[in-house]
Symmetry: C2
Subunit: 122 residues, 2 copies
Amino acid sequence: MTPKMKATPCCGQQHHHQEAVDQVLAHLPQEDLLYDLAELFKIFGDSTRIKILYVLFERELCVCDIAQLLGMTQSAVSHQLRILKANSLVKFRRQGKTVFYSLDDDHVRSILALGMEHIQEE
Amino acid sequence: MTPKMKATPCCGQQHHHQEAVDQVLAHLPQEDLLYDLAELFKIFGDSTRIKILYVLFERELCVCDIAQLLGMTQSAVSHQLRILKANSLVKFRRQGKTVFYSLDDDHVRSILALGMEHIQEE
DNA sequence: TGAACACATGAACAGTTGTTCATATGTTTG
DNA sequence: CAAACATATGAACAACTGTTCATGTGTTCA
């Protein structure tokens, strides 16, 4: 990360702050990891996808059932399932013409649950 | 949720599916809760904000230190801190001219940790 | 094999979002 | 009080994202 700040050294240099900056830098995860993490949460950050995940919380469902439950186009649902699949949040199995989707692992459930806890606190 | 699907009843009506749909509907959280949940994850879904959160993981920092660490404008950081604050992900305390930010509660740490686990699995 | 069905996907358009730039607010110090 | 400093905020613009519409792929069944 190259600083883009101006010559203005912002809150002087003779603070406790330089020590703080150094300490943080020592423990900061790699930039690309943080980027991937943001990408992951971006997937959860859409109400359509959240609804799909919650609808799959208890059991697998086929695409058109999801669409019916959510009152959405099959196409829209399919596009979102594609994204969820690409990020390993859902898996699928094919049975004849229909494709059944389900949550991929328990991380998904845990993350959803933690998020729920947070918003229900305030 | 009002179904917007066409008259095409999509994958017939005489499937196992109707039963599935009913079961899911019985356990589905309220629509506005799901919406709020998506809004929460949307906050985590930006790499700048993720970086800010991680930079605050171990200790509080002032705005300009965060900006320096991230190589970003003070303004950009301030805008993001505003969003994080509004969603109770960070809190702040004022000390003279400088404002120190820190993570608001441990949910934030837990959610970040779970996300990290997920992306490091594949 | 061909029609019907369930699902996938590409292009395009509208709405949303993050950054920049300029400026405002609030605090300290002389 | 005025100047300096740390931070906050409003407007605007570029980039991204989700939906729609049209069409493509793959499977079943007559």
